[in-house]
């Protein structure tokens, strides 16, 4: 019997195969990649009973991405509300569902959040490159054809498992979808000393706006400019969520597809959960940075991970 598959009938602006990311290869110059909103990504897999880091589809914006199947399949959708429809019927986010031959699954436009995660039985099939299936456009790595290309018209998706154990989202689950005031916890770094004292105050005491210049590499925030006493430092390794400040004083938060080393001064880094939330913010969203100690942040992070136990 032919293996069941899903075909891309219309490609949206950006849909990428993602897993947890590419780790242990940063010293080769290879970026981390992986699902930007790793929390929703994990919930999508959880809803199908998959291992939590199974490869799934990260769908950005929607833009009429249309998928069709040649066999009945159980899928799960979590994260942003992209006005997903089964034929013309609205589809609930954060739940498993059945897609049948002849039905069209479409993602129209963001109504809340920016990235939706579509999980497949046992995870999507794709070649493993440097330990991961993550599709990294800038590095031409991973994805269906190992060239980092996003999903294209007529691409066929296959999955690894035959059966699923669908679950309901627990009432306690909190998905990082912006709703009102967005707080981004941030650990101050040693380089904060490069900045004027007033800038340290401004960092945490003014609203920042998510700029149009935002992608999986970095998200620019705009507000009253921060003032660094140095224009650059000797290039060094950059962690996820790093708050780097180029000479124009408008910070850029470095995300999953960031360059591995860089030389702009940095004020610290927002936490992984804050990165998930920021990755769901549309341009124009107001966000506030909130200082947190590394120890406090780790405690919250462990509590977050305990959600899936």
């Amino acid at each position: 019997m032919r293996q069941a598959s899903i075909t891309v009938k219309q490609a949206g602006p950006l849909a990428l195969i993602q897993d947890a990311g590419r780790f242990g290869v940063g010293h080769l110059g290879v970026t981390q990649s992986g699902a930007a909103d790793w929390i929703s990504f994990r919930w999508a897999n959880w809803l199908l009973g998959n291992p939590l880091e199974s490869a799934a589809l990260e769908i950005v914006m929607g833009g009429n991405l249309t998928l069709e199947t040649d066999a009945t399949v159980y899928l799960a959708l979590a994260g942003a509300d992209l006005d997903a429809r089964l034929d013309d019927k609205p589809l609930a986010v954060n739940a498993p569902f059945t897609l049948r031959p002849g039905q069209a699954l479409t993602f129209r436009q963001p109504r809340a959040g920016l990235r939706a995660y579509l999980a497949f039985p046992g995870g999507l099939e794709a070649p493993v490159v440097l330990g991961s299936r993550a599709c990294t456009t800038r590095e031409q790595l991973g994805g269906l054809y190992e060239n980092g290309k996003p999903l294209q018209l007529n691409d066929r998706l296959y999955w690894q498992g035959a059966s699923v154990t669908p679950r309901r989202l627990p009432a306690s689950a909190q998905l990082p979808i912006p709703n009102g005031r967005c707080l981004l916890p941030m650990v101050l770094g040693a380089q904060a000393a490069h900045f004027a004292g007033r800038s340290l105050y401004q960092l945490f005491n003014q609203p920042w706006r998510v700029d149009q210049r935002a992608d999986r590499m970095g998200i620019r925030l705009t507000g009253q400019a921060l003032e660094s006493k140095v224009s650059g430092v000797i290039s060094e390794g950059i962690p996820l969520g790093a708050v780097q400040v180029p000479p124009d004083g408008q910070p850029i938060i470095l995300m999953n597809d960031r360059q591995t080393i860089g030389g702009y001064p940095r004020m610290g880094a927002i936490t992984p959960s804050a990165c998930a939330l920021l990755s769901q913010c549309l341009p124009g969203t107001e966000v506030w940075l909130q200082p947190v100690s590394a120890t406090q942040a780790q405690v919250s992070h462990r509590l977050q991970l305990a959600e899936w136990r």
């Binding site: 110059g29 031409q140 060094e236 390794g237 962690p239 940095r266 610290g268 590394a294 780790q298």
Partner: protein, 234 residues
């Protein structure tokens, strides 16, 4: 070497050993890399050495911030520099030509040299690979003769061809894959750096040495080089 530990993120520490770029740092950075890999073992998520620092990304489910800090101090106690003579010497053939190296004339002019003299100067020095980063397999090398030092382009190019050899200030590098870039491009090599990186075996590693060798267009093409000019002029 003076060890300083800095918070970089919730689960990442910057281990700072030096304040200046210097070839003599490399033995220490390489020794620290080995010691930290060994000390963190399974709790290590990523370790990114650079010119003067190493970024340690550890698994905060396995150790706390305080434990990670003391693990680093413990691991680097009594550190001795690694033998940098162990690094490989790579000879990289480059076709230096204005059609694939649009800044060749400008950099020569800026240095007060003829194009032939500039090529001889760029090839006349073994460069140390200081760090890998920016793109898979991209090696930051130096130090370029002070006379040749040229600032980055004011506006980076949207695309620079794979194999492009460029300089920025006193650094030189090869672009492993087609990417945006702001370095001054002097020529192109057919050596497939990205293919190595994609297999997890980058050709260039920190501590290695690189010697560029000027070749003709015919030799470049025979090696499988692509002569298509890709860069917009600046």
């Amino acid at each position: 070497m003076k060890l300083r530990l800095e918070t970089a993120a919730m689960d990442a520490l910057t281990v700072r050993l030096f304040d200046e770029i210097d070839e003599r740092n490399m033995g220490w950075i390489m020794a620290a890399d080995t010691a930290l890999r060994h000390a963190f073992n399974d709790a290590l998520i990523d370790l990114i050495p650079s010119y003067t620092t190493l970024l340690v990304h550890y698994d905060c489910q396995r150790m706390t911030f305080v434990e990670a800090t003391s693990r680093v101090r413990e691991a680097l106690k009594g550190l001795q520099p690694a033998d940098t003579q162990q690094g490989q010497l790579h000879e990289i053939p480059v076709w230096y030509d204005a059609s694939v190296g649009p800044e060749l004339p400008a950099v020569a002019q800026g240095a007060g040299l003829s194009i032939e003299q500039l090529i001889a100067r760029h090839c006349g020095h073994d460069y140390c690979v200081f760090a890998l980063g920016f793109a898979p397999g991209y090696g930051f090398m130096g130090l370029v003769d002070e006379d040749l030092a040229t600032p980055r382009l004011k506006t980076p190019r949207r695309r620079v061809a794979a194999g492009s050899v460029g300089i920025a200030e006193r650094q030189t590098a090869i672009y492993p894959l087609l990417s945006p870039g702001g370095w001054n491009i002097l020529g192109r090599t057919a050596v497939p750096l990205f293919e190595y990186a994609k297999r997890g075996e980058p050709l260039l590693r920190p501590g290695d040495k690189v010697r560029f060798k000027a070749i003709s267009q015919a030799e470049f093409e025979a090696a499988g080089g692509d002569t298509t000019p890709l860069e917009e002029r600046v």
